[in-house]
Amino acid sequence: MVYPRARMLDRRPGEELHEVVVIGAGIAGLACAGALAAAGRQSLVVDKGRGVGGRCATRRIRDQPVDHGVAFYHGEHPEFLAALAAVPATALPGWPQRIVGQGPPCQPEAFTRGHSRLAFVEGATAFPKALARGLALRLATRIVAIEVGDASLCLRLEAGPSLQTRELVLTPPAAQTLALLPRCAELASARALLDLVPAQPCLTLMLGYAGDGPRPEFDVCYPEDSPLQMIVHDSAKRSAAGQVVLVAQATRAWSRAQLEREASSWQATLLAEVARVVGPWAHEPVWLESHRWRYAHAGSPALASPMLVSLPGGARIGLAGEAFCAGAGVQGAYLAGLALARRMLAGQACGEETR
């Protein structure tokens, strides 16, 4: 879409003006902003977190990377695989290799024919960091409200001057996007669709052990009949691991039931479960950390494509994220972000014709 220069927006004092603002520096937001930038459209990517990547997350614990969100990448789409191949980090192609347990993988298609799998020695964040290179980012910035103006949208921040933009891309999980989405008629069907794909939680435990002690014989374990969806031998991804690190992720149903309980109660249950599956030695970690992923998995089955809604004044709101691509997962988030950028560049937004 080309904006006539004459129709500049009135910038109110204390407001910043942007052509495009992308909310969410996860894979969908970064892919979208990157594709826009490649076509010469600058955007500002805003995220409430301190780092990029969203659920593609890595913590440094005792000087060792620990992936406590996405454990490994998998996909079959050429563009997604090309983006992974371009990451300037040490890839472990085919990781995980040693897979045990009869429980269901989080995304069973990860192990189907045609899907490639890989991890990064430096941590899962290597991928979002690579996507974020060259993009304008504003991290640790929380948007509290979106107001619809004449030809623009005003984003109110928790702190600091508001952001004004003609085009807004929303990529957070459904519940967070719903909380921000303006309540106007043009967005009624978007709200209804977001209601169909509520994200599911995942309680996660990170466990550190002495580097010279016992370690599991697997890369990933999918226990059967367990509150655990998977146990990841995270330190098996690191080239010079000084310590053995396991990451345990609870099933959606179990996580949902325990989500609002004291962390100490679910930590103890999950730790006991890890020890039951891996061996008694696992009951005594040197350190233990946990993370409560409130929105870990997009609701399934996902929708098929991103949305791009034109508002009466001419502003546009795009919706992307894992829930907006058939297939979901990180690949789904990436492809949804790309697809939205392409639609924005092609200027093919449909006016919402409500019945």
Binding site: L303, A304, P306, M307, C350, E352, E353
Partner: protein
């Protein structure tokens, strides 16, 4: 192969080693793999089953008369619609369209209905029912339908074009109101020598569907008549 094999049956043997670069963006290649008589309430047909190299969908052709090598063969493309074709849904006119085409072909010397299994790829059927639920709440919009995976304008006619090529037709008369279908097939090298209009009266349930189909996709439809069964 028996000596008195019909031209259609001969296609099965011909296609056992058929392998081409494929049609359309998906580079779809199809083979004729089975042919049998199919007497039906619409008349005597032969049913032709196709294999394709892209998905596990089994497309079929309902063939009336001797069509191999023929010109100006009447052809109808029908996209599978489980709710309409099988369940008799009134939310669309798919079953009426299907029956009207088969009834017409049953009275003709020649005719082909391609039954394209384009529904239910991935989660297509789930999203269709989600779309109906939105419609029930008055939230049926172009954007919502796009997000649910319905995009009329981007349909790939490669499969249909290859099926017609495999049936060895010289030229076809396409039974359609949709100009995109004409263009789509011609782009893949199908010779369309004419168009047979295919129009059914609207009912109170599907009038909206037909109107939006006409508005969104440029179908040749005329809505001057009152829909059946409505007085309002």
């Amino acid at each position: 192969m028996t000596p008195d094999a019909s031209p259609l049956e001969a296609l099965v043997e011909r296609d056992q080693t058929h392998d081409c670069a494929g049609f359309g963006p998906a580079r779809t290649c199809v083979r004729v793999v089975a042919v049998a008589d199919l007497p039906s309430r619409f008349g005597d047909f032969k049913i032709v089953a196709f294999w394709n190299n892209r998905d596990a969908k089994e497309h079929i052709a309902m063939v009336r008369g001797e069509v191999c090598g023929a010109s100006d063969v009447p052809v109808r493309l029908h996209s599978e619609c489980l709710t309409g074709d099988a369940m008799g849904s009134l939310r669309c006119d798919c079953r009426d369209q299907l029956e009207a085409a088969l009834t017409t072909f049953g009275t003709m010397e020649r005719g082909i209905l391609l039954y394209l299994r384009q529904e239910g790829r991935g989660i297509g059927l789930i999203n269709k029912i989600r779309a109906y639920a939105l419609q029930d709440r008055g939230l049926d919009t172009v954007e919502a339908n796009l997000a649910l995976g319905f995009r009329d304008d981007e349909r790939d006619y490669g499969v249909a074009a290859h099926m017609l090529r495999s049936l060895d037709l010289r030229s076809i008369q396409l039974m359609t109101n949709n100009p995109n279908k004409l263009r789509g097939l011609e782009q893949h090298g199908v010779v369309v020598s004419g168009r047979i209009p295919h129009q059914l009266p609207a009912t109170r349930h599907n009038r909206f569907y037909l109107e939006t189909k006409a508005a969104r996709s440029g179908h040749y439809l005329d809505f001057t008549g009152e829909p059946e069964g409505t007085k309002d």
